[in-house]
Symmetry: C2
Subunit: 360 residues, 2 copies
């Protein structure tokens, strides 16, 4: 066996050099990539917990669990299990095996992203671990789309999760303490979402990708993440519209990740100052996931799993059914840690935007 | 201004469709990418602390600080400052401004990767946050190389860091506690490294990239990371040699990240079982960075900053000077967290490998 492997020793196998593809050719404007071969969504799945089951989008979930432990002994193991289940479900729906995926791009909010590394370890899929906080669904989809479009992969999965109880005990207070929450606070979704992209398929397609910059305008209130992330959302969305020479009204939906009520209103205000009306199609996954009044969810939902589960259910189903033809999906992340806040730091934000379209 | 921006409203700008580039064409074997246009290293820089200054590679550092706080009030802020300084230094050496970079790919060991998000927030460079533990220099370079080769960017920086004091208090014991360390324990480097890649330049070049899988063989001793990561290093290196149809002797160096004495020996054993002799050119950054006897470093160095600083000093300088023509750089990461260990989990590992060559 060894002999066979080393028959061609000394000469590295290389592919045919594609001289046509000059560098940086896929860039439109300063920050946006227009994918030459827009990858297709071929499968998607989501999982939620009890609050997600009681919300208005419950019928768009593939699986809803009343057990916040998902059969495990700890909440952290529960979050890993959610990632495992949601990837398996997305694979099953596409009739694929783990080995059919060239890469998996994943991350989560837990210290050292253990939701992903433990949840995905048994699949044996080449793994790029990401940390984009609640923007992770946008970051993972962006990189997945470029890995396929660039000729590095045929199929890539993008996955992320969050869990109310793991996030509370890591970022805030142990859940049994019953800490009070101000009106600007958001509720971390117990949810996971997975999208599988491929070089070809029935759509929708990822046509454009805009990478976020770290934006920090000095907000330091950890109970007001929406305000902390809003400047990053404005920065990336403004870059996206500028680069693609389009306006918000050219899209059926422009949907941020988890800005919540206040952050969402701030982004609308920022655009108003530029004379741009974001209009009625400007939505936020954090405002869609729960019935904020009936469920007492304060400013709305948050967490990586918020935008991931709304995309991989409500939004992609709506696109498949023809309800929306072209959307901008722009999840935001707050790049703080409890340590950085204890040390008096403000909260940097980031937002990764993608254009998802029914047509290539 | 708004009017001008929206002149072409409704039609998304797209690039010329490059019909020649068929999908997945850049793959050799099952897991390895042969880059069509190998990106060039155009600049690199590293920074270290006191222990790094006392080690055998001290002359290969751009900056060495005797102050573990790097002028800041906390060690976490010190780590952010290291990332900021090392990126600025790499930019300066290439006579570039932050705006000349299309992306920065970065991550670190701190909870929520705050070394990167706070260290890099002022640059305003589009940011892909990564979490690969101590494999981050390999992961960031891999993605940076593909972003350039794929036509998405002209110049991309890859950066990471670690700090002995931030790692100790996060993963183990507060430093002043003076905890005893077993012989298999490694010493987290206080160091950072940054590479800037571009579509063209004097080399060396990134010619091949092999993405790691999460590999967990059940090792659960947090004082023996080398053993936990060794199976991942074996898995990725074996895939790399198989896919490229080469053998270890075809390279001037095959260098892992921070396996340390025991992990390094285990990888050598694994290959021996397959009848493959890794030979004398099989090295480990964790064994190169310190004088283990004189500095009492037990099994060797570890941390994202270990392989990052050894690459962006000793290794790349050696390649530029002609000492080595072609190397395999394969940093490993242990994807655990203190929480996962407290909950009885074993330690998953990962290894990302790249071929760096003086010739395209």
């Amino acid at each position: 066996m060894t002999l066979i492997i080393f028959l061609f020793a000394g000469t590295l196998r290389t592919t045919h050099k594609n001289e046509v593809s000059s560098m940086n050719e896929k860039r439109v404007g300063k920050r946006t990539i227009a994918l030459s071969h827009p990858p297709s969504v071929i499968s998607y799945a989501n999982i939620g917990g009890r609050q997600e089951a009681e919300g208005p989008l419950s019928s768009y979930f593939d699986e809803l669990s009343d057990d916040s432990f998902f059969g495990e002994k700890t909440w952290e193991k529960a979050e890993s299990t959610m990632q495992k289940k949601v990837v398996q479900r997305a694979l099953d729906q596409a009739k694929l095996k783990p080995d059919d995926l060239d890469y998996i791009c994943a991350g989560d909010l837990l210290n050292q992203c253990i939701g992903s590394s433990f949840g995905l370890r048994d699949f044996g899929i080449p793994f790029y671990g990401l940390y984009g906080a609640c923007s992770t669904m946008g970051e993972s989809l962006s990189l997945a789309a470029m890995l396929i479009d660039g000729g590095y992969a045929s199929r890539v999965a993008a996955v992320t999760s969050s869990h109310f109880c793991t996030a509370e005990r890591q970022y805030r207070m142990p859940v049994p303490y019953g800490n009070q929450r101000p009106p600007t606070a958001q509720w971390t979704a117990t949810a996971a979402g997975c999208t599988i992209l491929a070089e070809d398929g029935p759509g929708p397609y990822i046509t454009h990708v805009t990478c976020g910059k770290i934006v920090d305008r000095g907000v330091s209130d950890v109970n007001n993440m929406g305000a902390a992330m809003a400047p990053a959302a404005y920065d990336t969305l403004a870059a996206f519209f500028r680069d693609t020479e389009t306006k918000p009204q050219d899209y059926d939906l422009v949907v941020t990740g988890d800005l919540g009520e206040l952050g969402h209103a701030i982004v609308r205000d920022f655009f108003s100052r530029d004379g741009v009306d974001l209009g009625e199609n400007f939505q936020d996954c954090g405002l869609l996931l729960y019935d904020r009044q009936a469920q007492d969810m304060h400013a709305g939902a948050s967490g990586c799993g918020c935008s991931a589960s709304v995309l991989n259910g409500y939004l992609l189903s709506g696109m498949r059914s023809g309800r929306w033809k072209r959307i901008v999906f722009a999840p935001t992340g707050a790049l703080l840690s409890p340590t950085s806040s204890f040390q008096g730091e403000s909260i940097p934000g980031i937002c990764h935007a993608l254009c998802i379209s029914a047509e290539k």
